[in-house]
């Protein structure tokens, strides 16, 4: 009896995850190839403009410095895009009922959307990394740190996207979220520079930006050098993820905006 129940618990989650993965995989030209291309364009433009003029970390050329930041930026933006766009699309077309009618628990619902976002984020990140290797090969000093931040960061952004999707009532709301929050926060997080090169006020402000810790921690995985200790970054990113996850599961339990 209880064994049957357990296998059923897994099935709802597995199927929702499978559906979410299939959803972006079926349109992978849009969801994977396009963002890889965008990141490569950034690399070409910024490295062309700044190569040889800027040395952020001693002994590391600017293009190599740029690669981890661009990879992580792509990971984060695409994780956000996956859960937020999937949910808002289902809400607006009304087919979210297919997920709301079955006995899928709040945690399964949360887990499926966030894990699909992680997979999409990592797929795009890996694509960006592979293509940029054609330009220059950065050192990889602590790969496990890099992987930990990629997974945790995309989990966090998948959860942020899920929240945005729950809260939004139309595509405009998601676009606003993206333009006024995600985009500025990524650009001001140190993708293109080290915050030590910033004026002191901006350095302080950057410390309140969760993206800064995700990028900085991920970059530590490559160079073994970072603006703050990777442990601090890990605590900030992990703590944010846990806090946001708990909040979202609670919102799902209450039916906030999904079962009004």
């Amino acid at each position: 009896m209880s064994r049957a129940a357990t296998s059923e618990v897994g099935s709802g989650f597995r199927t929702l995850l499978y559906k979410e993965l299939l959803r972006f995989w079926k349109v992978s030209a849009q969801t994977v190839t396009a963002p890889v291309l965008t990141a490569v364009l950034y690399l070409l433009i910024f490295s062309h403009a700044l190569q040889g003029r800027v040395e952020v970390y001693p002994g590391i050329n600017y293009t190599a410095f740029l690669i981890p930041g661009l990879v992580m930026m792509s990971v984060l933006q695409n994780a956000f895009a996956n859960s937020s766009s999937s949910l808002i699309q289902s809400k607006i077309t009304g087919n979210l009922v297919f997920v709301l009618l079955p006995p899928i628990s709040h945690i399964e619902f949360f887990g499926a959307y966030v894990i699909a976002a992680v997979v999409r984020g990592l797929a795009v990140g890996l694509g960006v990394l592979l293509v940029t290797l054609l330009f220059t090969v950065p050192p990889v000093v602590a790969p496990l740190w890099g992987l930990a931040f990629a997974v945790l960061g995309s989990g966090l952004m998948g959860a942020v996207g899920l929240f945005a999707g729950i809260w939004a009532e139309k595509f405009d709301h998601i676009a606003a979220f993206q333009n006024f929050f995600i985009l500025p926060a990524t650009f001001l997080s140190g993708v293109f520079y080290s915050i030590h090169s910033l004026p002191p006020t901006w350095q302080v402000i950057s410390r309140f930006n969760p993206f800064f810790y995700m990028i900085d921690g991920f970059r530590y995985g490559f160079f073994g050098v970072s603006d703050v200790s990777p442990w601090v970054s890990l605590a900030v990113v992990g703590g944010s993820f846990v806090a946001l996850s708990l909040a979202i599961v609670e919102l799902l339990k209450r039916g906030y905006k999904l079962r009004h």
């Binding site: 059923e8 597995r14 199927t15 009304g94 087919n95 297919f98 009618l101 006995p103 039916g255 079962r259």
Partner: protein
């Protein structure tokens, strides 16, 4: 007694609008139950609350004895809902859609039943077509199939025949009637009252978020004041008789009878006047007559 659906004092507001004002309703297992009412009566709102898509402000609802909020997983496992809105997921084919829906309910090897449902609903040759490319009626069939993948003991259909051709209506009702015979409880909303009359053994009528009639279909039909007598005579009816009976297009009159005994009170004066009867027909009221009477504000109390 365990009910298939049990709603107790269910209330729901949308801003200043009272969509449901204290609905009490119990559907027994195995029933074919009709939920009728004009546009905006609150039928879909009630179904959404039963399905857990909407939360009631007050009151509670159980499906097969499981609370739809507290015991939501068991309640939903026992329920299949065909939503009123024609929704679909444009990423998937019909078969993928049904496989995925099965998986949500914990069914992994559901292929045989999926095939049977597709066959019964005339979807077999569309199995590998993307749902986006289906016509409206075909999309409706997919919605019905999706509600049935997990063989739910309780099936709720919110206007399943809106915009659907005669053929599907017949196939659909044959299939649903078979499920009902196999023991599934069916709850149906429709604006086609003859459909409800012939299918449902019991009917609730909703108006302005309140249940204004709830009875066996046969009792509802009987409850309507008597019957109608259609009469056409050669020449003119006596004025006293013609008064108060609406004249019909073909030149006949339509008398409302409190009971069959009243036939005599119409025919006696006709005989006395020596008139020749050209047409004579006693009509029993259909559900539409009852519906109109109930909705026009006739007392909602049940006659016992």
């Amino acid at each position: 007694m365990k009910y298939a659906i049990e709603a107790t004092a269910v209330q729901k507001r949308f801003g200043s609008l009272q969509a449901l004002g204290g609905v009490d309703l119990a559907v027994e297992e195995g029933e074919f139950f009709g939920l009728l009412g004009p546009n905006g009566a609150g039928k879909t709102t009630l179904i959404s609350i039963i399905a857990g898509l909407t939360r009631a402000d007050a009151g509670r609802v159980k499906v097969m004895g499981y609370d739809v909020v507290g015991d939501y997983r068991l309640a939903r496992r026992n329920l299949g809902v065909v939503p009123q809105e024609l929704v679909f997921d444009p990423f998937f084919t019909v078969r993928e859609t049904l496989r995925i829906q099965s998986g949500y309910f914990g069914l992994r090897d559901n292929g045989a039943w999926i095939d049977e449902v597709m066959e019964s609903l005339g979807l077999a040759d569309k199995a590998d077509v993307n749902t986006r490319a289906l016509s409206g009626g075909m999309k409706r069939r997919v919605l019905v199939a999706q509600a049935l993948v997990h063989k739910p003991p309780v099936i709720v259909l919110d206007e399943p025949t809106a915009g659907v051709d005669v053929e599907l209506r017949q196939t659909l009702w044959q299939f649903i009637a078979r499920l009902n015979r196999d023991g599934h409880t069916i709850v149906l909303t429709t604006h086609y009252l003859e459909e409800a009359e012939s299918l449902c053994n019991r009917i609730a009528m909703l108006k302005g978020g309140k249940v204004v009639a709830l009875d066996k279909t046969a009792n509802l039909l009987k409850r309507h004041a008597g019957a109608f007598l259609h009469l056409k005579v050669k020449g003119e009816l006596p004025a006293a008789l013609a008064q108060g009976a609406p004249r019909e297009a073909g030149g006949g009159y339509r008398f409302q009878l409190a009971s069959y005994d009243d036939v005599e009170s119409v025919l006696a004066p006709v005989r006395a006047a020596g008139l020749h009867i050209e047409e004579l027909q006693v009509l029993t009221p259909d559900l539409e007559d009852v519906f109109v009477q109930v909705m026009s504000g006739a007392p909602a109390q049940e006659r016992t």
